[in-house]
Symmetry: C2
Subunit: 243 residues, 2 copies
DNA sequence: TAGATTGTTAATCGATTAACAATC
DNA sequence: TAGATTGTTAATCGATTAACAATC
């Protein structure tokens, strides 16, 4: 539970939390454009949400704005960064250095957002020893020692479907508290002090497929409707002629 | 808009749609375990949601179950697959064959879910000509011709931040209707017949960071509370002694 | 038939939006 | 001071959950 501005425990809804990184990105864009202040109204137009929602969201954490002025972009950026723990530096390891694991290891944005990659593990001898952004891929059986010697906050799991239960159990036993799971299997662990974010890329792609189909269907319906109407007009014309 | 079971246009909420791929995955798991029937109650326990929600969700599309019996797993799996258009086969191209692009190109799950990769494009001469799962990486300037010769439903964008506006415009001009955007920039296009899914991996990671911090804070508060209490007990003991 | 479980309506809950007094 | 815009309360909207009659 987070302390809100009155120092009271107030549970902040997950819907609000999930919007914070998006605010953070938009504010970074504004900074890049040298925009120093912004009103909830203008931000709402850029982001495609209501100004009300922005003010409501931000006020879960404190009054970051100023009446008649709006919000100072840099201050707000820093505040949201603090809420998200960007400056807290989380240490991460990647387990599974296949395509996805390597892609994530190369993703420099994570560094900027407070996540430091300190280890990569796999079992494939062909890639062990290879370095990605100065981090060497090690064999899985070195992971125990590594985690004893280094504090690890988050394990990023990009191992195949069938290996997930075993790897998750191992990771839990090593005292790692955060799991970012890219495996196709939803991960649930009975240890209630472990926090898991499951990522299912293909879910998002399937939603896109659904929307495309809906659009296509709507267009077909529209076309059929138009065809029907023009047919009506034609028939009416013929009927008139026949009179 | 989807036709519901009464043949009426009923707008189905995006919240429901976004849960469908998850149902689909769980049903695939059940099939793999040779489970042929399931009740909303049992499925709810597996998935960690309410049985009410499952029945409510499924009934947006039709009565797939049977009173007293539950749902036939295979039938339900197929029905949800149809709703999501799994059998409709969407053709896709990947633009940007960096680490993420190549990782996605190698992701065999997409094939299973109805997405066929037919092209990969990049500008890096070092990787042009390389084949991923039998699809050759071509130069971006071949994309126009390619899209004229082949119908493309979806473009998967994994190009760097600064290139996104230009690439998106190009893609729109080629008549591609679905964009799956992995760039760090939110994509919005003014063409209202183009459908976009923005994916922001680091957003999800930041939410994980937030939750870890909350957990840590809660534990610290608890510890401080316990320390305070044991201090009270000690003081009470001393006060008694002093009497 | 009795038991189980759906489909569906009604009740509840929570999230979003609107409105406006406070204030810079 | 006048204008702008926040912080915050109240109203609305939509999504989730509960309940139960229908029915396999």
């Amino acid at each position: 539970m987070s302390l809100n501005k009155d120092g009271l425990n107030k549970k902040i809804s997950i819907a609000v939390i999930r919007r914070l990184p998006r605010y953070y990105r938009y504010l970074a864009d504004l900074l890049r454009m040298d925009i120093t202040r912004i009103s909830s109204k203008e931000l709402s137009q850029r982001m495609g949400i209501t100004a009300s929602q922005i003010r409501q969201d931000l006020n879960c954490f404190g009054g970051f704005g100023q009446q008649g002025y709006g919000y100072n972009v840099e201050l707000l950026y820093r505040e949201i960064g603090n809420i998200l723990g960007v400056s807290d530096r989380f240490t991460t390891i990647i387990i599974g250095a296949g395509n996805m694991g390597q892609a994530l290891a190369n993703y420099e944005n994570f560094e900027k957002r407070g996540f430091t990659l300190i280890g990569i593990f796999d079992i494939n001898p062909q890639i062990i020893g290879k370095k990605i952004r100065n981090v060497e891929i090690k064999h899985m059986n070195e992971m125990d020692d590594f985690c004893r010697d280094n504090h690890v906050d988050i394990a990023i799991l990009t191992v195949p479907y069938q290996n997930i239960p075993e790897v998750a159990k191992k990771v839990a036993s090593l005292g790692i508290k955060g799991l970012w799971n890219f495996s196709a299997m939803d991960l649930k662990l009975s240890y209630d002090d472990i926090i898991i974010e499951n990522v299912h890329l293909s879910d998002s792609l399937m939603v896109l497929g659904y929307k495309l189909n809906e659009r296509r269907k709507a267009e077909e319906t529209k076309k059929a409707e138009e065809a029907r109407k023009s047919e009506e007009v034609r028939e009416a014309g013929e009927a008139k002629k026949a009179e």
